[in-house]
Amino acid sequence: MKKMQKIIVLCLIISLAIGSFAFAGGESEIAGTEYSPEMDSWAQAAQLGKYDKKQDWDEITALAKEEGEVIIYSASSRMAAVGESFSKMYPEIKVTSHDLGSVKTFEKTVGEQEAGIFNADIITTGGSGNFIYDLIANNRVVNFVPSMFADRIAKENKEPALVRIMEAIVFMYNTEVNDAPPITNLWELTTEAYRGKVVIKDPLASLSNLMGVATIAQHADEMKKAYKEFTGEDIVLSEGVPDAGYEFLYRLLHNDLIILDSGSKTTGASGKKGQTDPPVSITSFTYLRYNGTKDYTNGLIYPVEPADGVIYPTYTAIAARAAHPNAAKLFTAYMLGDPSITLDTVIEKPFTEGKSLEILQGLAPYYEIGSVSPRDDVPLPEGGEAWNEMNMWVVDPEYMWYDAPKVQDFWIKESAR
């Protein structure tokens, strides 16, 4: 019996060894900004990345049809609709779209590539820090800007990664109870009047909301100035709080900020009709559309000091060593809409059908209140015109990458009871 046990222990050790070996193989990494030899030959063949010199769209289209497929990892369910209309325009190309949410898009892309799998063609998601400092910086994706749009997109929206759509975190109030925005300075939300009367979707569960609160923390100087304007006095920081940006989050959390698990609940909290004492919500601009579809009565709080909101981009790029690089290029161009659109183009509802779909193309499902194309020649959709009047901060990928973890730690520390 003793010998038997020894054999068993031996079996155990051997299989563990095999197992660990399997891991060791899975942990290789593309380090630095230099292309690996495989990556280099792929980029050369696909004319992407540093070999993306001149785009011949007839050739790209022909090659794309030959490739016959494009696989997308996205954080948006509407990407499926984009795929459907794309397939109608190019029946030769099959579109497979994985709707993963931003966190799992990164998880899956990085996990697969580290395991040596290059399954995706297009990666499109928000999450600025991760996208720029992990995916782009480590060559897990390559930036690709379709040449016909190159001069219609502002530099910051095409470098270091192409922006597909912009959205924003804003402040909303109930227009049934208040005739005008109830606050003019963000610091009012930290006063006794707003104790338990501000609602936000959990920034720990939502990257866009984390970007929102982190961007406020980043603008400490503006927050400090706004405080002085509001109270006439210099701000006194709470113990252990580094600056006025963090202090705002601190006071918000200690003013019984209400954290919810869903964006529509958050938007409904401020926007549902028939309330007597509704809260203010910190939520996505695009949820303003629920005024039409869910009969809410939300209004945007602006102008407000020091900023009316935080713009966060959704990027798109072509995945490293993608099997269908040309189909990916074609799809990227499609996502930005037809090049013929101008600011004077009249785009009628419904956007996802008929003539409107024909010119909006991949923009159609995203053509709504609170979503804005990076192209400077696409008109804003009806109801979303406020975007251009608002003074908003833009998410900074570098801050998100290096400082958001600190903001997140701070949030965990101060939100627990």
Binding site: K3, M4, Q5, I7, I8, C11, S15, G19, S20, A22, F23, G25, G26, S77, A81, H98, D99, G101, V103, K104, E107, K108, V110, G111, E112, A115, I117, N119, D134, D202, A205, L210, I258, I259, L260, D261, S262, S264, K265, G268, A269, S270, G271, K272, Q275, D277, P278, S281, G292, T293, K294, D295, T352, P365, P405, Q408, I412, K413, E414, A416
Partner: protein, 599 residues
């Protein structure tokens, strides 16, 4: 050497349980132990996320960073201690309530002359089939107060009752909702245990002059103790490890538990910290198991299935009967009928939370795509994605349940046959290990492990096989437990007799053991089917579009905030699970209460 080999070969042949044990040890060490070690390894090395907090650190280098952050930093209180106390508080409160409730119900149905027993027994296990957060959703519909703005619950809207915060959110509702889900564990285990106790044993006590209370204490209680122990372990570990309900009811008053913190960390791709917390959960689960073993003793089991029949004598309820029946009906309406009605109703509401009749629509079931409603998603019955997901989920459930039921019995066989040896303990322990493994951590590791081909195993990335594999492994704890329980009840002498007559092992297994364990086999199958159908966190990282499941569908609708679709697909899931329950029962022709047996 060859002589020794021959000796072992002969020995293995005469002891099939040894061959099986060796097989299981090899397979388990790869499928369970290696992922576990990998997880520990992660907690001791810098991950990519950490490089953002600790600049200059080298990815993969050894560090105490995560342990320091979790256990000895200014984060410790918020990140670890408070959530830990909350988790323990919830876990034990839920367990106490659930065990009392479950035991009482089991006793009522097995040991008394309660009418409509069959009907009640079937209905009372439905909460086990409903995802636990459904009850939490229903709770919110009733008890939500004005704290979070928006629509208030039924109580404050229609009855103008000012619901206090402690009843709307946080500890109290979390405990109640979880207890109403987890009592079914104790109920099933105790029903099984009570059913197999020969009432002759108790009668013997009575003849020997024991009083009623003494019989209960000296005979019944020791006999059901193993079942109580299993209920304790299952309920306490599960309720401490659950995420959905605490997230829904705890967040608005910032009541955090260990799983909600793990989830937040995984969301940030902060694997190191989240795995440290996952290890905390694992340690707590192991503690619960060893407490159980200390008190009850693993080896204390009773052979109660000897191949001869017995009959339990029901206790007469007398005057209490109508009262108890009324209570039961109210209970069932409150925890099963109302939540399901609410769920169904919500799928017919054009605007969520608007209960007027003018708001009713059949769009979410049979409507064609309309861009103005739920981003143009067509109604559930017209939705190809839902159809494909339904087929995949059923396929997964059926395959996993068959494989798991067989594996469970084989594990049970090798554990029970080797009982008392270290191998037996090892297999039993390792087979139970996936239970304490947080699903999301498990799948993150599997994704890395099986994406590439190595040795004889092909790359399984994006395949249905990988999803099947992880579901099978994650369900091993249940199937092995029910396998062990089933085997324990089979008298050794039955197989030994056949063995002496020279009947080969396979035949013995098929003709003697399998039929005797039929009830355990079927219960194992049903259990796996249900959990496989409900599984989300385990598979979410592994699904590809053509391998999508009903739960991943629910998840993606949930992220898109399409409430009606979420609830509609949940209903489909529920209907399939209940149908499967009925079919398996019909097919296997077992007693109702026995068909799910977690023991």
């Amino acid at each position: 050497m060859s002589k020794t080999l021959k000796f072992y070969r002969a020995k293995l042949k005469s002891k099939p349980e040894l061959t099986l044990s060796i097989f299981f040890i090899i397979v388990f060490s790869f499928l369970i132990v290696v992922p576990f070690l990998k997880m520990i390894h992660t907690t001791f090395t810098y991950q990519s996320y950490d490089l953002r907090l600790a600049r200059g650190a080298v990815q993969g280098a050894f560090t105490w960073f995560h342990y320091q952050r979790v256990f000895a930093s200014d984060l410790t209180k918020s990140f670890f201690i408070t959530p830990l106390l909350n988790s323990i508080g919830v876990g034990f409160s839920v367990t106490i309530i659930a065990m009392i409730l479950g035991s009482l119900l089991a006793w009522l149905f097995v040991r008394t002359d309660i009418p409509h027993r069959k009907f009640f027994q079937t209905v009372i296990v439905v909460p086990y089939m409903i995802p636990s957060w459904v009850i939490a959703l229903a709770w919110q519909l009733f008890f939500q107060n004005t704290r979070i703005g928006g629509q208030s619950g039924v109580l404050s809207t229609f009855f103008h009752i000012d619901v206090p915060d402690w009843l709307s959110y946080g500890f109290v509702p979390i405990v109640i909702c979880l207890a109403l889900h987890y009592y079914s564990y104790t109920f099933l285990l105790m029903s099984g245990a009570l059913q197999t106790i020969d009432s002759e044993l108790e009668e013997a006590g009575s003849i020997a002059g024991l009083k009623r209370r003494e019989i209960l204490r000296k005979i019944t209680f020791p006999l059901v103790l193993p079942a109580l122990g299993s209920s304790f372990v299952l309920t306490v570990t599960r309720s401490m490890g659950t995420f959905g309900t605490p997230a829904l009811l705890g967040l608005p008053v910032r009541f955090f538990t260990i799983p909600t913190q793990i989830y937040a960390m995984i969301n940030a791709r902060n694997m190191g910290d989240s795995f440290v917390l996952a290890l905390v959960l694992i340690v707590m689960a192991i503690t619960a198991i060893s407490i159980n073993n200390k008190i009850i003793g693993v080896r204390k089991s009773f052979v109660t299935m000897k191949g001869k029949g017995f009959r339990a004598k029901p206790m007469e309820l007398g005057k209490a009967k109508p009262v108890l029946v009324t209570l039961l009906i109210v209970f069932i309406i409150m925890i099963i009928v109302l939540p399901i009605i609410m769920l169904t109703w919500s799928t017919f509401m054009l605007l969520p939370d608007n209960y007027s009749f003018s708001n009713l629509t059949s769009h979410f079931w049979v409507g064609k795509s309309d861009a103005m409603i739920s981003s143009g998603e067509p109604g559930i019955f017209l939705n190809r994605g839902v159809l494909r997901a339904t087929l995949n989920s059923v396929k997964l459930g059926v395959l996993a349940s068959i494989v798991n039921a067989f594996l469970g019995l084989l594990i049970g066989y090798s554990v029970v046959k080797n009982r008392g040896t270290r191998i037996s303990k090892l297999i039993e322990g390792v087979a139970f290990a996936p239970y304490v493994f947080p699903g999301i951590a498990f799948s993150a590791i599997y994704l890395g492990m099986f994406s590439k081909s190595f040795g004889p195993i092909p790359a399984m990335y994006g395949t249905f096989a990988l999803i099947l594999l992880i579901v099978i492994v994650k369900n091993l704890p249940f199937s092995s437990r029910s396998g062990i329980a089933a085997m324990l009840q089979v008298d050794k002498s039955l197989e030994e007799t056949a063995s002496i007559q020279g009947i080969p092992w396979l035949k013995r297994f098929r003709l003697i053991i399998l039929p005797l364990c039929k009830s355990g086999f079927v219960s194992g199958m049903l259990l796996t089917f249900i959990t496989a159908m409900r599984e989300l966190s385990l598979v979410i990282l592994l699904v590809a579009p053509n391998t999508g499941l009903l739960t991943t569908m629910i998840f993606s609708y949930k992220t898109q905030e399409q409430t009606q679709h979420v609830n509609g697909v949940t209903l489909i899931l529920l209907v399939i699970i209940i149908l499967a329950n009925i079919i398996i029962k019909k097919f296997a022709n077992t007693k109702t209460g026995q068909s799910i047996n977690l023991g």
